[in-house]
Symmetry: C2
Subunit: 334 residues, 2 copies
């Protein structure tokens, strides 16, 4: 047993990952993987909770997302990559935990409320969607994770998982399962290239990790800057200027970004020069990722092998936890 803190993280496999994922989570995972015991869950079962009409897309993107992980530098020797739907113990724990949470409590979860509204479900919420916080509690506890990287808007899910943990522990009469801490990234969500708050493939404002130089140039070209700054000599606004937001996120020289902001505010720095700088930085960032991605994608069997190995390991761990929970609650064991 490793004594490193255990991280559980992952993505719904709804599509290939993009620069927003890189900024918000992927590069953190690469940085954290050596000092932590990291499990990376390809959450295809969770993705189905609001995509039951298109299961093939969810399936197809398991390999895509795994390829993204390896391309950005996730090292399968230290990070375990595993497929949620291939871990039956997660489903067993989910069903068990659903008995320890009320419908009213699930409906009160702020994240679920927001997401129900964002998806326009109204009264027709798939039951699986309402229940997914219990599934997430199963994921977190099955891996005995104590650190779960999430966006600030997802923190209520960790609180809900911890409530379930406390109810299970009370029923078991001991501290069987650990509570988890939300690891909220210091920088906020990267906006889309059009300036909208959320970068997403379906929103058409995302830069995929596989973007070529021409796509990068085109995306940077259409980036929202300051509409009241048509000439380089005019003073410009830095706040809400997507190019600066991206420079803050990716420029390796923050001092220089500070100086550029100063000049932009004062007047005398045009969007063209700024965008050229950003395009260069993104080319340097995404170029090697794109090349590694292409090389990995030429051998999908290797990706599948990585998932098989990781999932087999995750299977042993999650079944151990399931057994421990069943025994601690005094459930029947054949």
């Amino acid at each position: 047993m490793s004594s490193k803190p255990v991280i559980l993280t992952g993505d719904r496999t709804t599509g290939p990952l993009h620069l927003g994922h890189y900024a918000g989570s992927l590069r953190n995972r690469v940085a954290l993987q050596h000092d932590h015991r990291q499990y990376l869950l390809l959450a295809d079962a969770q993705a189905l909770t609001d995509n039951a009409h298109d299961p093939a897309r969810i399936a197809r993107n398991v390999i895509e997302v795994a390829t993204d992980y390896l391309a950005v530098g996730i090292d399968q020797a230290v990070t375990t990559l595993c497929v949620q739907s291939a871990l039956p113990a997660l489903a067993e724990l989910t069903l068990l935990y659903l008995n320890f949470v009320t419908v009213a409590r699930l409906e009160r979860n702020p994240t679920i409320k927001d997401e129900i509204q964002a998806r326009g479900f109204g009264r027709d919420i798939p039951a699986g969607f309402l229940c997914y916080p219990a599934a997430q509690a199963a994921d977190i506890t099955a891996f005995r994770a104590t650190l779960v990287p999430v966006g600030a808007d997802q923190a209520p899910l960790i609180e809900q998982a911890n409530e379930i943990v406390r109810r299970i522990n009370r029923q078991a009469g001991r501290d069987l399962l650990p509570e988890a801490t939300a690891l909220i990234p210091p920088v906020g969500r990267l906006p889309g290239v059009d300036g909208r708050a959320k970068m997403s493939k379906s929103g058409g404002n995302a830069l995929p990790l596989s973007a070529c130089d021409a796509e990068i140039a085109a995306a940077v070209q259409r980036m929202y800057t300051d509409p009241d700054h048509p000439r380089a000599s005019d003073p410009g606004r830095v706040e809400g200027n997507v190019v600066f937001t991206y420079l803050d996120a990716f420029d390796p020289d923050p001092d220089e970004v500070g100086a550029l902001k100063e000049r932009y505010r004062r007047g005398g720095l045009g969007d063209a020069a700024l965008k050229q700088r950003l395009a260069g930085i993104l080319r340097d960032l995404l170029g090697p990722i794109r090349e590694r991605r292409a090389a990995i994608a030429r051998d999908p069997d290797r990706v599948r092998d990585v998932l098989r190995t990781g999932t087999a390991q995750a299977r042993r761990l999650t079944e151990e936890t399931r057994d421990a929970v069943q025994d601690a609650l005094g459930l029947f064991r054949l």
Copy 2:
């Protein structure tokens, strides 16, 4: 593959079975087991949906209920006895099906509405309880059952399961899963010995299958008859008279019961004679069951072996169905 119609049935393992179970389901199962492919599910996972506070009781009663099954004449050579919580594919299918049913639809289910009221859950319904119709759909379809014996009050659950089947089949683009038919027994529910509609251990008006002759005599003695019939010579009421209800259910000579009803209505037949007849019939019925039960209970390892064998068989079948559903929907397979 057998071409016999497939029956799935079973019981929540909340306590040992009683005479009400015998009249309503057990004797039918014994009669049906040779002409049907019968699976008998010890529904410990479902029992937890409203007993999460007392999992040990649910666990303890798995062996009790299995012992009851064998004692009444369930033959493990033709009926497969299996434990729900030891079949992970049922949990996997349940979570999948929850994506194909809305919360609103589950809340509208008349059986669930009645049961929520009966249990006094109010707004604090355990999520697992609201979701159990999807779990039942998983049970039914995993065994590819087409006949499901249920009380009339449970028929909406079969309709709900069939709705899920139709949604899955539509998504799969073919008739992957069969719809099921509710097999509603011709005779209604056996009332408690006190005349209340439902016999239950917790209601204190049940006769357990293990009842000894003295318990049988005492139960029959306190049976509700006709309070306006204090003397044998008075005319008496047959309707609502629990002794006659039980004679209808268990007397091997229905013609004689008809003649007794005639005499009782006319006047000239006392409760004492009637109760004596019923006590004799119940002694003849329960005596051999009690003896077989005692013999079986002396060897719990044998019961456990029966469950192990049946569950292993059920595991293969339910995992085959899970694989078939996952493949037909195009889900990811490692």
